[in-house]
């Protein structure tokens, strides 16, 4: 069965520090992978997606993620965190049926940023 694991429930970093959020997936075929961000009281905003090709994908707000098939991972990174990045981050895998994806989400990682 498809699943997504985000091992870190909470992460705290200092503003300006680098960030890496971990994501591991379980999926039988080539996965479609996504990172979404949720600010308090807001919906889910797409940060970036991986479908195929280059395993390092760039997203919005300076985020990037690297797909590593051998490790079944899709970790999210940012070289320098800003206070406005404090939010909850969700990794998701698209379980593809026909022409669409059913998204299976991880439990999320809540990011706190110290000034």
């Amino acid at each position: 069965a498809q699943s997504v694991t985000q091992p870190d429930i909470h992460i705290t970093v200092s503003e300006g520090a680098s960030l890496e959020l971990r994501c591991n997936y379980s999926y039988g075929a080539t996965p479609y992978l996504f990172w979404y961000v949720q600010s308090p009281g807001q919906g889910l905003q797409l940060l970036l997606k991986y479908f195929s090709g280059d395993t390092l994908v760039q997203g919005i707000k300076g985020f990037e993620a690297e797909f590593k098939r051998s490790q079944s991972s899709f970790n999210l990174r940012k070289p320098s965190v800003h206070w406005s990045d404090a939010a909850e981050y969700f990794c998701a895998v698209g379980a593809s049926f026909g022409g669409y994806n059913k998204l299976i989400f991880g439990a999320g990682t809540r990011l706190a940023v110290h000034p």
Binding site: G43, L44, Y100, K102
Partner: protein, 114 residues
């Protein structure tokens, strides 16, 4: 940039009452979805909808739930007889045709069952 809009932002309902959550997907999108997030838990898939019929539904989506696209713009989720455990944030999403099209989410409706 076009966005998915959901109304109301917060709905309070007595247990046993019917509730309808409304969504306006992005206008040229063809696939529509509902997800829910119980407080403190992960986002869970409920149902997907394409070409005026359900494509797939989860085990959560039992006979108490239904979806409808009553006109060319709205997409609704109805819960016929609400239970306390239906309290959650409900997200609507839509995507364009094609497996590599990402889903775009609305801001959600917080449903509180008393």
């Amino acid at each position: 940039e076009p966005e998915v809009t959901q109304t109301p932002s917060h709905q309070v309902t007595q247990m046993g009452q019917e509730v309808i959550l409304r969504c306006v997907p992005i206008s040229n999108h063809l696939y529509f979805y509902w997800y829910r997030q119980i407080l403190g838990q992960k986002v869970e898939f409920l149902v997907s909808f394409y070409n005026n019929e359900i494509s797939e539904k989860s085990e959560i989506f039992d006979d108490q739930f239904s979806v409808e696209r009553p006109d060319g713009s709205n997409f609704t989720l109805k819960i016929r007889s609400t239970k306390l455990e239906d309290s959650a944030m409900y997200f609507c999403a839509s995507s364009a045709l094609g497996r590599n099209q990402p889903q775009h989410f609305g801001d959600g409706t917080r449903l509180s069952i008393l």
